[in-house]
Amino acid sequence: MNYLIKNGSIIDPARRMATVGDILIVDGKVEQVFDMTEMRADQDPLPEGTEVINARGCVIAPGFTDLHAQLGEPGEEQRETIASGTLAAAYGGFTTVCAMPGTTPTLDRAAVAHQVRTIAQRDGHVHVELIGAITVGREGKALTEMIELAEVGCIAFSDDGRAIADTALMRNALAYAAALNLPVMAHCEDARLGAGWAMHEGAVSTRLGLPGTPAAAEELMIARDIALAEDTGAHLHICQVSTAGGVACIRAAKERGVRVTADVTPHHLTLTDTWVLGSLAPRPVAPPSPPLIRGKARRTRSPELGLPDWLVPSILPPYDSSTRVRPPLRTAHDVEALIAGLHDGTIDAIATGHSPQSRVAKECEYGLAAPGISSLETTLGLVLTLVHRGEMDLVNTVARLTEGPAHVLGRSPASLNPGARADIVIFNPDQTWVVDSARFVSRGKNTPLHGQQLKGQIMLTMTSGAITFRRDSFGRSSRGNPQTSKLSGILSDDE
């Protein structure tokens, strides 16, 4: 099947391109991109079997890459399967996901890698990349056979949510991986600080009487691992940085040339520990709403839904276990630093940290609940809140979902260049919707965002030229989408 995607706002960060135009996809590859100056003439004959998709008011971008998703298989099928997880990825606009090794058994040897690859080829809706464990069983005791794991296709190593407490072992892991020129993805937490924690240690944990982990537990581990990366020359990737101190540490390391990259999750960029208070949290006052589009004042309420344009933690009950996540939600000060880090490139990528959990694991006392947020399907809407608030620009945000992850993986960035694999996402940045976790295609319904209004919705995802997700009959109507965007304003302003 061939496609002509018409009248979208094309954003291709790898080519520093933002324009209104059309894209022709033939045989699973980008055939040609037509920008405003050379709009494709409607009378030109299309290749046989070409469907025209009207993307008016929407952004067309390279498909997103997720560095960090738990896909459940093998062994954790109550949480997720590769089929459900990759479908959720497609719903979220992702065309590549990196599968974390925290499965049962652990992806710590070639046989498990083969198994995951086989299931992914059979059931996967998007491209699946494999991340091998750093230590056998993720126990932090003995290194895995990294060379063999690399030979069977692992593109990075991680102990998935666990820090390696033994400093000597971490140094060996970095040194060994350096020879393979593959990144070691570190989850930075000193587990002895705040042992048994349920949330971030601070004013909220003090009020709620929940055991906390201090920001220092993350910061000192980031500092340690950076020192080891500097020492070994290895590529260190910091997963899910969540603290202001961590961002500062990474920024300083990058400035002196250490091979360090970092990612952050959508929830750490937008939510704080006050979400654990739920209805005990003070009601939010209207934040200033700087215009998304320069020169135009924006409304602060969406009349069609009667809901405020910002997130409201107080619709949750207190101690709602959906807010429990590792690393924990931090403070507004940390969120501010994370956004600044994302903006200036200290943080390379947005990674979902998708961690689906079963109902049984979540519907219990806060301190006993499994950490994790099912985030593939809400990532775009959540990070676009930063754009709508004027804290990030749209092109940069798309870059952190496309070019950034590719850079972390040492690959040439996903692009809409002619000849490129047609991994494409189309989203409407102004479409408002209300999160309903019951409608997630992921098996993990665990999200603190249930009932929240987000602005920005995936309309269509295409992986290797095949449509893996399409919202209703998107693009089929020749009359276009009723919710037309003012987005073209941004793009023409920028040019």
Binding site: L208, Y319, E363, C364, E365, Y366, G367, L368
Partner: protein
């Protein structure tokens, strides 16, 4: 009071204002009068089912709630379930739904996990009373403390209260802070830094608190000194060098007792580690109201049961 405005749950004092606290304390006075009768029972809750769910050991609080419910003629069932069968929340929710089906009107819950009563309240159509959850809250203890203070000192507004001991792990301290703050008392928290956590964390929620690490300075001019139980596990966790040093610096020793004014109330939520956070001399001093606290506990719990389910 109409049913529309009536409180359904008592989980913490953070959503109870001064006026409502006054009302509860007034109701408590009536209940105390009932308990002074020869026949300590009124029919206020006849035909109502009260279930005490204790997921953590507590003989005294459980007995206090049982006696309170019986004095109001309620049907009372108590159970203690600690350990394996109810480790997981699915079981807690399941237990609550079962009690619901069995016709429970009020559930009293004691649980080791902070926030557990909110989970119960979310799945239960009746009333929930928090009998202590993790480090979070113990509102009936705070109310009986307020009642005892008012009974002895005649007022709560503007008095100076020193809470000393293992504050960071204490649900009693947190609920007392809410209650005393609402009633206009001045509160000093006194503890070694390892048993308090960062001052700014406390001041964020309660900006008027005074934080101190010096008990001798804190108790000058105090109207109430409340010592908290020190659990021996704190030593194993490396939070304290020794019991000896703790007692010397933060205990209500006979020497400190002598420094207190004759009318300074000595309080303790119990159970006490005599000789650790409080000396036997202080515990039995004429100005100690520790036994009155226990007595008043029954009346306060009657008042709450009555107001929630009566």
């Amino acid at each position: 009071m109409t049913t529309d405005t009536r409180r359904r749950h008592m989980i913490d004092l953070d959503d109870v204002d001064a006026e409502e606290i006054e009302e509860i304390l007034t109701t408590t006075e009536s209940m105390k009068e009932v308990l002074s009768r020869e026949i300590k029972q009124v029919p206020a809750l006849r035909g109502r089912n009260v279930v005490n769910m204790f997921f953590e050991d507590s003989t005294r609080t459980r007995i206090s709630f049982e006696l309170a419910a019986r004095a109001l003629s309620a049907n009372v069932v108590s159970f203690s379930a600690r350990g394996s069968s109810v480790e997981k929340g699915e079981s807690l929710i399941d237990t609550v739904r079962t009690l619901q089906s069995l016709g429970a009107d009020v559930v009293v819950i004691r649980h080791s996990q902070s926030g557990a009563p909110y989970l119960v309240a979310h799945h239960f159509h009746g009333s929930v009373i928090n009998a202590g959850d993790g480090r979070h809250a113990h509102p009936t203890q705070a109310l009986l403390d307020l009642f005892t203070i008012r009974e002895r000192l005649g007022q709560i507004r503007d008095i100076k209260v020193v809470i000393v001991g293992d504050i960071v792990h204490s649900r009693v301290a947190r609920s007392d802070i809410w209650g005393l703050t609402r009633m206009g008392a001045h509160i000093t928290l006194c503890a070694p830094p390892t048993l308090l956590g960062q001052s700014t964390y406390w001041l964020h929620t309660w900006p008027k608190l005074t934080i101190s690490h010096d008990l001798d300075a804190s108790i000058k001019g105090a109207d109430v000194v409340m010592a908290l139980r020190l659990q021996k596990e704190r030593m194993q966790a490396g939070l304290l060098p020794s019991l000896r040093e703790y007692t010397r610096v933060y205990g209500i020793t006979p020497e400190r007792l002598a420094q207190l004014g004759a009318h300074t109330l000595i309080m303790h939520p119990g159970p006490m580690n005599e000789g650790v956070e409080i000396s036997p001399e202080a515990a039995t001093a004429p100005n100690s109201v520790i036994e009155a606290q226990v007595t008043n506990g029954v009346a306060v719990r009657m008042a709450l049961l009555y107001r929630l389910a009566g």
